[in-house]
């Protein structure tokens, strides 16, 4: 029998990044009510993302999208045992301060909400709570990590049910990582300049061949097959936003996507869980969205 002999350290990078490590191989589901959070937990979600409107509704209703009401977040925290995440606007460090005191487990500094600052992201090192941020390419991912993000999700195009942007972003990020691993040091200096990212991070990735934080995929995942494809493309896990609660049978679809992520490389299981799920979210093709309404271009 022994005792601990040193002070406890809170909010370290290891602790922040560590929670994301534990979420790997899992599905994080957008929920807008405690009742949806219950369905998500029962279906096997590894965490829930508490927000006021799912991206599909933000898209169709328009207006400024902000952090959720603290009452809503409290009700979701009270409902479930799994980790609860919530979204703050890009650059809105006070929304992040609020979410931290509310006791959520992770903050998503998210392009799905209306940006609060078109120049700066939140200085995430200032917080004990960890942050996840979106990225469309490696440079963006590394800038977020440099600001203190403890987890990255490729952005995709939220609220569409069209997985093509998610595919593009995860392929881009992993392709750029692969390219770095084949470079000599003199080339890495140039790569850092081109990626607009710190040389130290670029060099680290060139030697390890992976991001120093967990990489999930998000934005447009609507079916078990979509989720499994993201996993086969190298995602550590999947965020599903509108795809579950904008579909005909959320309970069954949520459970099916969870199984498809665990057995992402087994087409027999994916085929089986894909049966009889009812209507998927209707969705919109990303190519039909006029440029000013693309969410993935927010963030810099």
């Amino acid at each position: 029998m022994t005792e601990s002999n040193s002070a406890e350290q809170f909010g370290s990078s290891r602790v922040k990044r560590g929670l994301a490590e534990m979420l790997k191989g899992g599905v994080i589901m957008d929920v807008v009510t405690a009742a949806q959070a219950r369905i998500a937990e029962d279906a096997g979600a590894v965490a829930v993302m508490a927000l006021e409107r799912v991206p599909a509704d933000i898209r169709s209703q328009g207006g400024v999208a902000r952090m959720s009401d603290p009452d809503l977040i409290d009700s979701i925290i009270a409902e479930v045992n799994i980790p609860v995440m919530a979204k703050a606007r890009i650059g809105h460090f006070v929304e992040a301060q609020i979410l931290e005191v509310l006791g959520v487990d992770y903050i998503d500094e998210s392009e799905v909400l209306s940006p609060a600052d078109y120049k700066n992201h939140i200085d995430k090192w200032n917080f004990t709570i960890p942050f996840v941020c979106g990225a469309t390419n490696l440079g963006e991912a590394l800038r977020r990590i440099n600001e203190g993000a403890a987890m990255i999700r490729s952005k995709g195009e939220a609220g569409t049910g069209d997985v093509s942007e998610a595919t593009k972003h995860i392929r881009t990020i992993n392709g750029e990582i692969k390219r770095l691993t084949s470079m000599s040091r003199d080339e890495l200096y140039v790569a850092a300049k081109e990626l607009q990212a710190p040389y130290e991070l670029v060099a680290e990735i060139a030697s390890t061949g992976k991001l120093p934080v967990v990489l999930f995929t998000a934005g447009g995942v609507a079916t078990p097959a979509d989720a499994a494809m993201m996993m086969q493309l190298g995602a550590d896990g999947v965020f599903v936003g509108s795809g579950i609660f904008k579909s005909g049978n959320p309970e069954q679809r949520a459970a099916a996507i969870v199984k498809a992520v665990t057995f992402y490389d087994d087409a027999k299981v994916i085929a089986e869980v894909s049966r009889g799920l009812g209507e998927a979210m209707v969705g919109i093709n990303v190519s039909d969205i006029p440029a000013p309404h693309l969410l993935s271009t927010r963030g810099w």
Binding site: F10, V15, L19, G103, V258
Partner: protein, 213 residues
């Protein structure tokens, strides 16, 4: 089975060759465990299906979300054969969610959450609170060597009750138990697999897996 025989310096004793260890790969940080086990010389199988239990000499249950592991294990028919294997003496090491899965009793679990069981303990899920209460600290565990174990607790469980058949291996300063052993079963609230701490895995391979084979 002796508990962490005093004076053992695992780093100086090689792990026997040819040990085949499964890592439960339903969800969580199973790749980190697989990496540590491989570096220690074990052959590693990722386990998601019942038949994959047949050829392994030991099993590691990783960190992750215990309620998700529970659901998937039951849905895909893994829970019952694994419980039978544990009863039959299969050495198993669980970290965090893995510790919960090995506990006979779960406190603060989800409605209907089940564990595989085997350890005569009651474990409280998420005992420290939300993620901002997650922390790292050093634990003295002399039997693993003089150097303290650097332990990372992430929304971690604690062992609230240690039953007569289980033995506490480590406690926090406030006395709460965070590591236990009972025969071939080992569990920690914390995550050696993400801190470069190899001694628990080494102990598991040498003292439990190799001995039981």
């Amino acid at each position: 089975m002796t508990i962490l025989s005093v004076g053992t310096r695992p780093a100086e004793t090689p792990v026997p060759a040819g040990l085949r260890v499964g890592v439960l790969a339903l969800q969580g940080d199973f790749r980190e465990h697989a990496q540590v086990l491989r570096e220690l010389g074990a052959i590693v199988d990722l386990v998601r299906r019942p038949e994959e239990l047949d050829r392994i000499d030991g099993l590691v249950i990783p960190g992750g979300e215990s309620s998700v592991m529970d659901k998937l294990a039951r849905t895909f028919g893994l829970a019952e054969p694994l419980q039978a294997a544990i009863r039959g003496g299969l050495p198993v090491y669980g970290t965090c969610a893995g510790l919960i899965m090995l506990a006979d009793t779960i406190l603060d679990g989800m409605n209907g959450q089940q564990s595989f069981g085997g350890l005569d303990i009651a474990v409280r899920r998420n005992a420290f609170g939300s993620q901002t209460a997650s922390f790292e600290t050093d634990l003295d565990i002399p039997a693993l060597g003089e150097q303290p174990v650097h332990a990372v607790f992430i929304r971690a469980p604690v062992v609230e009750t240690v039953g007569p058949r289980a033995t506490a291996l480590a406690t926090l300063a406030d006395g709460r138990c965070v590591a236990v052993q009972q025969g071939n079963l080992l569990g920690t609230s914390f995550h050696p697999e993400i801190t470069g701490e190899y001694r628990f895995h080494q102990y598991f391979l040498q003292k439990l897996v190799a001995a039981a084979r």
